[in-house]
Amino acid sequence: MAIITMREAISQAIWEEMERDEKVFIMGEEVGVWGGTYAVTKGFLDHFGEERVRDTPIAESAIVGSAIGAALNGLRPIAELMTINFAFVAMDQIVNQAAKLHYMFGGQMVLPLVIRAPSGGGRQLGATHSQTPDVIFAHFPGLKVVAPGTPADAKGLLKSAIRSDDPILFIENATLYQMRGEVPEGEYTIPIGKSTVQRVGKDVTIVTYSKMVKYCLDAAEQLAKDGIEVEIVDLRSLRPLDMGPVITSFKKTNRAVIVEESWLSYGIGAEVSTRIYEEAFDYVDTPIQRVAQKEVPLPYNRHLEQLALPQIADIIQAVKEVLR
């Protein structure tokens, strides 16, 4: 195993897939000369050339739209959105086009498309640049939404996404690029749509994904000191949503906390807890707790922003609550 950053893992996945299949190419704002705003595509332009590493105008709607067209017509584009906040500019292309064309035309049209976008708050970027709207995109059948929380998952899942014939929104959390983790050497992929257990425990099930996986692992370490053993299930993909490992874990612990970075209302916590109640009601010992962002647009002020975002202490408190 090599220890690399999330940035390197993502970069390697794209690089390897571009080496493997010349139909794969990347396009987006500043992916070429600049080397990627988050330096994910540093060195790509020199190696692959400007045909396959395409700097685009600031035109998110056309970035996604033209990637859809190229995908329909035989290529395998990776469209990079500088941040997921700009996906709203491309919302029609993502929601009304990418998510619909295959179904609406009776399965004729196939679009092997990956849209990559960094998400997440906590960097004092203000209300429009700090959102974690991942779940919004998971609302639409026809689109897959993948959001890894470790470098190993990021690499394996992104490679699968690039090889998939379905349109996939691949969400990276902007504060995780520096995160280090073990990544298998050599070629590997991870199937899309499979949740995984990131930590084994017997007392409480925590369900989470993306950046919050790390928060939950840290919370688990602290709870372990008090003799509380939490099990952490990482969804990894929001659509399809794999409840299997969640239900298995819940049947063992009978208690759950759902943790997400975004707002509480209509969120992952609402969906996952409902499914637990539907599928494992007889195993419920105590009401499920949700940890999420306070219901405000994120402010610039550092302290207020952190006050609004879910913290490790909130997770610990929620775990203690379900154990009461």
Partner: protein, 319 residues
């Protein structure tokens, strides 16, 4: 007799320059966070524009907004406090560098989504037209923003409805690391305005009086009912796009060429050589501006953080 307006213009430009230099310092010191887009090199554009506007005219711009904030008359105390996220900031510490606005001065902000404020400008002007108010909306944006749909939709609609808007493209030659040659089908941006059938002009954006004059003339015609007009101001951003820009897309020599002939130096030379202003007088103004910024930092340093309860204030008008 020294022209007072000229000295005022000079003061505004150096005030912006000192503000930006201090902002960069505060950022390095960790007192300013988030994104910080400096206006150094572009001071003549907003200063020229605002020197020509009437107070009733609206101004709206993108995230590179400190220059407009100063020119619109927001006290530097409130600007620096906003940069530092303090309760006394013009946006109460919620907006930061990219989101300064003061609607009492008809300055409608600082907007961080590229081009998103362009259709909003169309709407400001629509309201003035419908309410028969004699105000023009001045909407500023970068050349990079002319590639996004917002621009085309907003500009077209304003033209169809003959609204009182002056579009000003601040062409600083790069949208992040991308020059118009690599991102715009026509690198002569005024051609886009011509495509929508409106009068369009370009101006040397490093010449503050040229900017002021062309804006004054356009505002006059718009007030007389011409409908939208367009000005492209050619300028240059001396610093990176925001803090931490590796600047792989341009050479040091290219930057140097512009810096050596910057808008403040040019205007200073003009004042000394053509207007007979004493160098000492300009140095004093410079000193005053530096002092104001120092005091603003002190003010911001001593200002309180927003209270925790403030987090939930202003989500809606009606709670």
């Amino acid at each position: 007799m020294v022209n007072g307006e000229y000295l005022d213009i000079y003061k505004q430009m150096v005030l912006i320059r000192h503000l930006e230099e201090k902002a960069a310092e505060l950022y390095q010191a960790g007192k300013v966070g988030g994104f910080l887009h400096l206006y150094i090199g572009e001071e003549a554009v907003s200063t020229g524009i605002l020197a020509a506007r009437e107070e009733r005219d609206h101004v709206i711009t993108a995230y590179r907004d400190h220059g407009v904030a100063v020119n619109a008359g927001i006290p530097v105390n409130q600007i620096v406090a906003e940069l530092m996220g303090k309760a006394t900031g013009i946006s109460k510490g919620r907006g930061g560098s990219m989101h300064m606005a003061d609607i009492t001065r008809n300055f409608w902000g600082g907007h961080a989504i590229v081009g998103a404020h362009i259709p909003i400008a169309t709407g400001l002007a629509l309201a003035d037209k419908m309410e028969k108010r004699d105000a023009v909306t001045i909407c500023m944006f970068g050349e990079g923003a002319t590639n996004i749909g917002f621009f085309h939709e907003g500009v077209n609609m304003a033209m169809v409805w003959k609204l009182p808007v002056l579009w000003i493209c601040e062409n600083n030659q790069y949208g992040m690391g991308t020059s118009p040659e690599r991102a715009s089908a026509v690198s002569n941006i005024i051609q886009k305005a011509c495509g929508y059938g409106m009068p369009a002009y370009d101006v040397d954006g490093m010449d503050v009086l040229a900017v002021r004059d062309i804006v004054a003339a356009r505002l006059q015609e718009i007030r007389e009912g011409s409908g939208p007009q367009f000005v492209e101001a050619r300028t240059y951003r001396f610093k990176g796009h925001s803090m931490g820009d590796p600047e792989r897309y341009r050479s040091k020599d290219e930057v140097k060429k512009y810096v050596e002939n910057g808008p403040i130096d040019r205007f200073r030379k003009f004042l000394i050589q053509k207007e007979g202003v004493q160098e000492k007088r300009l140095d004093e103004i410079d000193e005053e501006a530096a002092q104001e910024i120092m005091e603003a930092v002190e003010f911001a340093d001593n200002s309180p953080e927003p209270a925790d309860e403030d987090l939930f204030r202003n989500i809606y008008v009606e709670e």
